[in-house]
């Protein structure tokens, strides 16, 4: 048996035969649980395999709670199909897989907003792939770059680049928006010459293909 049922989990064993699809179907039909977990061990399953499993479970009205695997390819296939996945690291794991596992983890878990407290002074550059929140001023000569939105709880007097990876819906918000230059995605704009009125939070965004500054919206 290449597939069996243990500890409330469906476990796939190392040497899956060619006819494992059949085996899996037999197993799943017998189960009357509404939710299952999958432990794929070291099996390498591609997107077609996972999709097959998923479709079968949906047909039988069974929810897949999560998928555990030691194989990074399986994890990537599964998560690309929207399953909850956990990578279990083997003890005698080889180095390459470990590195891959970490880089994968970094990409997928690091969606958090980057937070910086303190004034950014001339010459300093703060860069992130995600949203950016600065509590403090961005002085002339300093630069902030974010893949997502930029929010500055303070004055923006330097250069800000939101949506640096091409996200045109990114915006830049600051308590006082008086930048040298604004960039959103690939658009560039010079900052306004006149001093803005104090006490109004402003937001820069792309509208009709140009960067405009507006009073900040409370909802998005």
């Amino acid at each position: 048996m290449a597939i069996n049922y243990q500890n409330k989990k469906i476990c796939f064993h190392k040497d899956l035969g060619k006819d494992w699809h059949r085996e899996f179907e037999d197993l799943i039909i017998k189960k009357d649980e509404r939710a299952i977990e999958l432990d794929c061990g070291e099996c390498k399953l591609n997107c077609y395999d996972i999709d097959y499993i998923k479709t079968l479970c949906i047909d039988k009205n069974i929810e897949i709670i999560s998928l555990v695997s030691q194989n990074i390819k399986t994890i990537i296939s599964a998560s690309s199909l929207g399953l909850n996945t956990t990578l279990r690291l083997n003890k005698n794991i080889n180095k390459n897989t470990a590195e891959l596992a970490y880089s994968y983890k970094d990409i997928h878990n690091d969606k958090s907003t980057k937070f910086h407290k303190g004034t950014l002074r001339a010459g300093e550059v703060l860069e992130t792939n995600n949203d950016l929140l600065v509590v403090g001023d961005v002085n002339p000569g300093a630069k902030v770059i974010a893949g997502g939105n930029i929010m500055i709880w303070g004055r923006l007097l330097g250069i800000a680049h939101a949506g640096s990876k091409g996200n045109t819906s990114a915006s830049i918000t600051a308590l006082q928006l008086r930048p040298v230059q604004l960039r959103i995605a690939k658009k560039v704009a010079r900052g306004p010459k006149e001093k803005p009125e104090e006490g109004f939070t402003e937001e820069a965004l792309i509208e009709d293909d140009i960067i405009v500054i507006k009073p900040a919206r409370t909802t998005k």
Binding site: A122, E124, G141
Partner: protein, 271 residues
């Protein structure tokens, strides 16, 4: 005296804003108030602290010889004649830039700390090796800037670097303030500068022609007991540095008092 020696870096980023002048005058003022003070010229490439203090012709050994251990520290120190509490440790030749390491600078400052209460380091302009060496040896800093956009920008950059090097506290001296131009808003105002730099203001120094005269003579204004505006500013700064509570001068009130007018009349040397 080692532990409570105050090692103060005087820097600006931009050149020509008055680092050396401030170092010289502050050194004299502190010495006059009775604190043993050493001024260290860290600007090896373009040294001129000795010129300002009028000590050029008395230099025999420099920091270079001290580091090479071809002379003792007290042989290299040049004691000021009129102000014996003040000593200068001159910079060596410009080639020192090639081999001087932050550790060497720390060693020199460590030696000076044993004898003096204040060690003022005159930092070179720029943020390259010379600056890094000087920063490595300092504990606190005074930023000198002029009310000009470029000087403020450079000062901002330097403050950022000082913060990453854990130099605390960093205080600000705004140099070459022209009250009339500030009033007519042709010059950055004090608020404009402190707004961007966000540092405690240690003092203002008014623009004063007497500074040029004293520089050329090699007699710092504070030494000759001048009552010129800049001289008063310098000694106020020295006082504040020692913890005295001296109110900041109000530039808009400068030069309008009867005393000021009389003093100006005296300086014209009609009498």
């Amino acid at each position: 005296m080692t532990s409570d020696t105050r090692v103060i870096l005087i820097c600006s980023g931009k050149g020509g804003v008055g680092k050396t002048t401030l170092t010289a005058n502050l050194g004299i003022s502190l010495a006059r108030k009775g604190s043993p003070t050493a001024v260290l010229d860290a600007d090896f490439g373009l040294r001129n602290l000795d010129l300002l203090l009028g000590l050029e012709n008395r230099i025999v050994y420099t920091a270079q010889e001290v580091l090479e251990e071809t002379c003792r520290l007290d042989q290299a120190l040049v004691k000021h004649k009129q102000e014996p509490n003040l000593s200068l440790l001159p910079a060596g030749n410009p080639r020192m830039l090639d081999w001087l390491k932050p550790e060497d600078m720390k060693k020199i400052v460590g030696m000076l700390s044993e004898q003096f209460q204040y060690v003022l380091i005159d930092c070179p302009a720029g943020v390259e090796d010379g600056f890094r060496n000087a920063v490595a040896a300092s504990k606190e800093a005074i930023i000198v800037t002029n009310p000009e956009v470029s000087a403020v920008r450079d000062a901002d950059r330097v403050i950022g670097l000082l913060n990453t090097n854990d130099i605390k506290p960093v205080q600000l001296v705004l140099n070459r303030v022209r009250p009339k131009m500030m009033e007519s808003q042709e010059m950055l105002s004090i608020d404009d500068v402190t707004d961007i730099l966000a540092l405690p203001l240690l003092g203002l120094v008014l623009e004063d022609e007497q500074v040029i005269v004293s520089t050329n003579r090699g007699e710092p204004l504070t030494l000759i007991g001048s009552q010129s505006p800049a001289a008063r500013c310098y000694s106020n700064i020295a006082g504040r540095l020692q913890g005295e509570e001296i109110p900041l001068i109000d530039p808009s009130q400068e030069g309008n008092g009867l005393g000021d007018k009389f003093r100006r009349l005296m300086q014209t040397k009609i009498f």
